[in-house]
Subunit: 264 residues, 3 copies
């Protein structure tokens, strides 16, 4: 587990700048989780601003939770700079499968940009994999088929890391498949935990020697902090500040000791 | 009080998808309150996305707190789909009376869409009723005249339910008039309690057999949770997580026992 | 210290309406801090709405944290009304120095509008002063030269009050230079404390007999509340509600007793 712990340590010592083009519902939570984990968030969307800001960043997170044509244009412009600068691009296909526009946009971003990591819930990843899957709003329904195979094949086909989040997060780079079993059910009752996970994945991807390891460490870190916060929370309202606190004091030692990672 | 309690029970068992086109100031609070009460929020605004998303939803909430022409066009497009699908449309005319643009837009939405419920503060409802009323920013000033008559006549004239929120919420469908006296003064010191109430009204309207009953139950539920949270809160900051917690654990039994509803 | 305490008292008794055109990352925090300090926030951005709303307000806060051309046009329109109505305009040049677009926009707003107060971090103020300074994302890097001289000369050149926030806030109106040493390190780990400070500066500027005194009082008030909240907070997550609570109960007596103000 030491290699996963070390990635959190790197985040803390290098404090990467993570550029996030994301939705207006949970953007504040994404900024705060990035600060709490030890990095520096910045949000920018205007064509005039986006190129310079992406050039200064160490990772780019694209989240289509409240997408529109201007935002997609911005994502493509930022993505091209990220590609040129060779920094990781993380895609959160929020709501893919719920409407044709979201599904189409997620696929367009995957086609036009060298995406490094796709992180979605079961329904979203299932949709992108072309499996029968359901998404309602931005919430996951089920998926038909073996999840591990779906994740591995999608990762292999697209040449990136795929994360299917859930009670057990499944992560694959096309060859390796891992499961992270950290987390707490209450995380599903708070808006934005998925978006925050994508921000943290972007942060870890910015510093990790191996992308797959970075994704595993990010999801385990989120989950462990969630377990800590769930112990004291009386509900989703008090869980939120407790979660930010737990992320802020999370240590590499905690990750090494508490990560529940299975490699298949 | 049993019929009001049963509506909360329905929310919890059916978990309706509530599509919200709202302001960027309190949108995160609206998402979280919807999750806490037991439903599923989704926010979408692009013309390309809005029709499919509304089609999937069980209620549509329109809040003009930070309006602009593109958003109004989106509201009309979504509203037409909601009308076709016959799901309730809730209008929060935030700031109507404060500027001509807000007043005009609220009236336009009422004219062009089959609005099911209008929920505003005293000044906003007074403005729409054509009574002498004052609104400063998005905060209510006073209104001239008998509030119960204003609410009933506006509801009767527009053929919808009207909710005038305040220390005592007044609710009418044009024939019945009810008052809900739950709530706590500290709710006025937190940004977004009005917007959250509209989200909850939309959620209850999605499942209630009778729209007026749904509105009464929604306002009572918000108020009771506010009373619970106010007991432990040291100020508006700690009230907020406590309020989300109280909404999340609110039971139909609590609503039956604590609702302060007077029908006139 | 009595004169600084009295300005907070004025905020509480007059409850000014503060119009804020700001970023979508921390806008909810700006609304809540304005309510907690005792004033009334309103956010509006559409050309159709902005003029009437600014006309109703007692101060205008412009924050370029997530700027784009439409927003800049709105800021200029609102700023011209503020100038005509002679209400103070506060500029938070968030991210100036990080990208040419932000630097250019901050300078454009300063050139075209009668800005009353500029409040930025060390790197942002250094950038506007033409000193060698660094800004990464929206976070301050260092600045070359004597900070007190930089602040005073920029204030003198622009004919406004300049606030350079930091562990010690430096404030000058071109002749007087003051330092406010209140605050707590944890404030730097929460997204939006800088934006909230600008909202509070706008609120105090709306009522203060002297603009420089108003800025000093605002920064001291923020800092004292931060010190109070830091004592009970377990991390940035729990600091946030505690901070809002502390601002809401902050008394003029506390300001008089705890403000650490040095005039040079």
């Amino acid at each position: 587990m030491q290699k996963y712990a070390k990635i959190l340590e790197s985040v803390r010592t290098t404090s990467p700048l993570v550029h996030q083009i994301t939705n207006y519902v949970t953007v504040n939570d994404c900024a705060n989780i990035t600060l709490c984990i030890g990095a520096s968030p910045v949000m920018s969307h205007a064509p005039e601003d986006i190129i310079d800001m992406t050039w200064a960043a160490s990772a780019l997170v694209l989240n289509i939770g409240t997408l529109d044509p201007d935002q997609i244009a911005g994502m493509l412009a930022a993505g091209n700079i990220a590609a040129e600068k060779k920094i990781p691009i993380i895609l959160d296909p929020a709501g893919a499968g719920a409407t044709p526009y979201r599904t189409r946009t997620a696929k367009q971003l995957i086609e036009e940009l060298p995406i490094s990591v796709i992180k979605g819930n079961t329904g979203e990843i299932g949709t992108l994999a072309g499996t029968a899957a359901t998404v309602r709003g931005v919430d996951s329904g089920g998926v038909f088929g073996n999840k591990k195979i779906i994740v591995r094949e999608l990762a292999s086909r697209l040449g990136c890391v795929v994360i299917m989040s859930g009670a057990e997060d499944l992560i694959s780079n096309g060859s390796r498949v891992a499961a992270v079993a950290n987390g707490a059910p209450i995380m599903g009752r708070l808006s934005g935990t998925g978006c925050m996970a994508s921000a943290v994945v972007g942060t870890f991807a910015a510093v990790a020697p191996d992308l797959m390891d970075g994704c595993i460490s990010a999801m385990a870190s989120m989950g462990i902090a969630g377990e800590v916060a769930a112990k004291t929370a009386a509900g989703p309202g008090s869980f939120k500040p407790a979660f930010f606190d737990a992320v802020a004091v999370l240590t590499p030692e905690q990750v090494a000791a508490s990560a529940k990672i299975i490699e298949y």
